[in-house]
Symmetry: C2
Subunit: 263 residues, 2 copies
């Protein structure tokens, strides 16, 4: 019987085509079918691409969580007993969010809407209202944050305080900072993270690849290519993320001084 | 007349001798007299060394903020029109704190007591109760944190939210993480930082040197030697730390989602 504390987790570093939602969706489905894993994380807006200029433009490339695409993904998750995280443009009534969804091995869906919108995203998306919810695949507890959310330490901190073992982090990174900073985000929270970044260019944006799995002490376990699509996995032990002792005397969560912080 | 937004700031990377408070104090006074600067930061426990085993042992090496040593430093600060930050073991009635003090160009003192005690420090020090107070040298606003405080993002965040341009960060670092993580601490808060670390060994501890001045975008402006004492300075512009816009649309303080954080 499979050990309950070891999980095979990974990223799919892809190159979505702007506005080609069917092509991108089929490519996602091909990837999720052709590997074995407990959790696989796709980039931000993996279904539709990034550089939409108007709300109207992105509306045509946005889907609801009840869409056929997610019904298909759900069936595969149940069949494979695996979890998937995918970034997508979410249509909810007339509102569009920059969202990601975790679908677990039972088909349960955990929706996250990006809290911190970057640059022109403010023009086309509504800012997220879900908060940093925690989902589960088997016993693996998963928080989600999307791309620029990494910049705000409160996001990863909230996810860790809410009990996650790992942060699923779909991204479309264009700045050079995130990969290094994820060492600090994981160390300070004693948590794993999968940053699944895309590659390619759209308009003025060049996406930086180098998707990364970072362990609970800030070590890079796996790093994707700079310019090539790739799917990579590691094994993680959730016990490492549950033990918050940095040494025999410092439990980094118990040592917090909420009485002194002014946040 | 001197520009009001440019400041010469630096670190004195020293090697305190355990328990030899007079020798250490004289060496500090020699250094503060022999350079010109707006702000100079010394390491944690620069007056007394680190590896005390008991409260009784450190009591003999602790001093009050009314001590002759600080009166002398204050006079020099006033005479030079300069600010100094020094880490020391503070005796306050019968309590000992791991403290640092900022003394400004008018002789005003801003006392900070370490909030997050590391490892055996929990045995000998009382945990700090001052919070992350902000001091001023001319128009330069300065927050203090001591060594392991860096690990907790709430510390630097509180300092930045309280309006500081720079974090004065006396340290006795023994882990390998801080210097890299200060790139993230400064970037995420758009703030400067001076990590003044000591060198040398005491008991099981080897201190890692490589004191560091980091700018408001996470760039290392100056890095000290690994094993040699040194005093280094840079010029900083406080306007860079006042402008919290990462680009024309993202003000990193205004973009915070306090409605979603659970801290």
């Amino acid at each position: 019987m499979k050990s309950k504390h070891l999980y095979k987790v990974g990223f799919a570093q892809t190159k979505p085509i702007l506005g080609k939602i069917e092509i991108n969706s089929n490519s996602i489905i091909d990837i999720i079918k052709s590997h074995n894993y407990d959790l696989l994380v796709f980039p931000e807006l993996a279904t539709c691409g990034y550089d939409f200029k108007t709300k109207n433009e992105i509306k045509k490339s946005s889907i609801s969580i009840d869409s056929i695409f997610f019904k298909t993904v759900k069936k595969i998750c149940i069949k494979k007993k695996s979890g998937i995280v995918i970034g997508f443009a979410e249509k909810s009534n007339s509102t569009i969010y920059n969202s990601s969804i975790l679908i677990n091995e039972n088909g349960k869906m955990y929706l996250y809407r990006k809290s911190h919108l970057f640059y022109n995203e403010k023009k086309i998306f509504e800012k997220g209202n879900t908060g940093f919810i925690i989902g589960k695949v088997n016993k693996l507890k998963i928080g989600q944050m999307i791309c620029f959310d990494w910049f705000f330490p409160e996001a990863a901190r909230t996810i860790a305080l809410n009990g996650a073992h790992i942060i699923a982090h779909p991204a479309n990174l264009v700045m050079p900072y995130c990969q290094n900073s994820m060492k600090t985000r994981t160390l300070e929270n004693c948590i794993y993270a999968i940053t699944s970044n895309r590659i390619g260019s759209e308009g003025d944006y060049t996406f930086t690849g180098k998707s990364q799995i970072t362990d609970n002490r800030g070590n890079i376990m796996k790093s994707g290519y700079r310019k090539k699509e790739c799917v990579m996995f590691v094994d993680i032990d959730i016990k490492n993320a549950e033990n918050k002792f940095l040494n025999t005397k410092n439990n980094i969560m118990n040592d917090r001084r909420n009485d002194l912080y002014e946040l």
